[in-house]
Amino acid sequence: MPGLDDLYREIILDHYRSPRNRGELPPPATHAVGHNPLCGDEIEVYLDVRDGVVHDIKVGGQGCSISQSSASMMSQAVKGKTVDEVRALVHRFKSMMSIEELDDADASVEVKLGDLEALQGVVKFPVRIKCAVLSWNTLTEALSQATP
C-alpha cells in the first residue's frame, strides 16, 4: 500500500503553506465556484481572458493540502498560456489523475506539467483525486464562461 511520502511531496506542502495567486479579480474577469461534494472543500477561480490568452488568474476558497496546492500550481501553470494550451494542460493533468485517457493525437502534443508532476502520487489515493482535480474542473467552468 502506498505511503504518505507518495502524497505529501515537499513541493506540495510548499504550495499549501504559501499558495500562489491567491485573491480575486474584479469583473469583467469570469468567476466559477467548485465544490468537492465529499469533503466540503470549495475553490473559486477568477479568470481574466483576453484575445484567447489567460492574462491573469486568482484562486480563492479553502481546502486540504492537495486541493490547495493543486490550485496554486495550476494558477502558475496556466498564467500567460493560450486558451488552447490551457485546455490541453487540463486534459494532460486529468489523464495523469487517470480520469481521462490520452489518445495518440494527445500524446504527440507537447505539454509540460512541471511542478504539477509532484501530484502524480495522488493517483494512488483515489479519494484524494477529487481534491486534486477540483480546481481544474472549476478552471474549466470559468474558461467556458470566458470563451462561450
Binding site: M1, P2, H35, P126
Partner: protein, 411 residues
Amino acid sequence: MTALDVASIRKEFPILSREIDGQPLVYLDSANTSQKPRAVIDAMVRCMEYSYAPINRSAYRLAAEATDAFEGARSAVRRFVNAPKAHELVFTKNATEALNLVAFSWGRANLGRGDVVVLTHMEHHANIVPWHMLAAERGIELRWVPLTPDGQLDLTDLPRLLDGAKAFSFTAMSNVLGTITPVRELCAAAHQAGAIAIVDGCQYVPHNVTDVQAWDADFLAFSSHKLCGPSGIGVLWGRESLLDAMPPFLGGGNMIADVRLDGFTTAELPAKFEAGTPPIVEAIGLGAAIEFLEGIGMTEIRRHEMQVADYALRTLTERFGDDITIHGPTNVEVRGATFSFAFRGIHPHDLSQVLDQRNVCVRAGHHCAKPLMRVLGASATARASFYLYNDESEVDVLADALDSATDIFGF
C-alpha cells in the same frame, strides 16, 4: 456446438447439492430469482471479513480499497452491457427501483397531460405500475402493444401506437412467456417516432449477450439477483445526456454538491442518483457474478439454454399432448428457457405444491403480470424456468413429477 459442462457448473453452487427428504433440489425458479455461485458468496464474505469500509467518503486506505472494489464492480457492469461510460451505470436496490427512477425522474421532467407512453401486454408490474402512478398524477396516456397468438409482440400497429409517443418501455424477454422481443427493431421504431426506448432487461440480461450500443437503447434496467448476483442491488443504465438532464430521484447524502438551509445542488453522475449508503457488499458480489458469467460465456449460456428449451418443448408435448398447454413461442430462436403452462386443469398453486414433493421448485401465480394473465385467459400459471445450472435431466424429473400430480387430484 459447445455444450456447457453443467455438472461442474453445478458444483459451483453450494445450494444445488442440498437434498430435502433425501431428494436432490431441482430448482426451476430462476426467472424469479437465481442461485448464487461460490465465487459470489466468497467475494461478499471476503469484503465483509477483510475490506469492508465506507465508499467514496473517507480517505483512509481501507476505505480506498473498498471504494476501488465498489467502482470496479461498476466497471464490470459497464463492460457486461457494453455501456459507453461507467458513470452511466446507477446502482439501485432492484430493477423495480430502476424503472421507477426512469418513470418518475425522466417522466416528471418530460411528460405532461396527454403525453403518450407505450407499453406492451407482456410487461411485468414493475414496468406498468410506475406508469399508472404517473398517469394518475399527471394524466399521461398509456398505449399497449398487443400479442400474437403464439405470445410474441404483434407489431402490425406499432407505428400507429408510437405515433406522437414520448417513450416506449418494453421487456427484452417476457418473464412469463419466455418470449425474446426484437429490441434493436423496437428501439429504432421508438426513435423513428421521436420516443425514447426503455428496456426492461431483467430476464434478458442474465441469459444473453447484452449490448446497449448495438440496441441503440436509451435506458436499461435489470436486477443482480436474477443473474447469480446478490439480492439488494439492481442496475439502471441510461444514456449520459438523458441522465444529465434529469432531476434527482431520491434526496440525501452522496447525491449532492452542496446543501444549504434554502436548497441544494446535485452531484455529478452516477452519485446524483445514488442517495445514501449504497449496497456496498452487494455491488462487489454483483461484480463477482458478472465475472463468473463472463468466465462461462454469455454466448455459451444462451446456446445451452436454447438446447434445454428445445428439449423441454419436445419432451413435455410428447409426453402430455393435449394435457399440457405451454404458453409462448415454440421457436427457441425467439424464446428463453422459461415456460408457463397449464396442466390437466390442476390449479397452478396445487401443481407447484405437488411438484415440490419431488423437490421440483416451480412458481405458481400471476408472475407479476396480471394484464398478461388476462390476455392468456388464466388467473395463474405454473412456470418452470431454467438457467445455466439446469440441464435436460431436470426436464425429465419435471415431467415425471407432473405425471404424479394426477394421482392426488385423481384425474
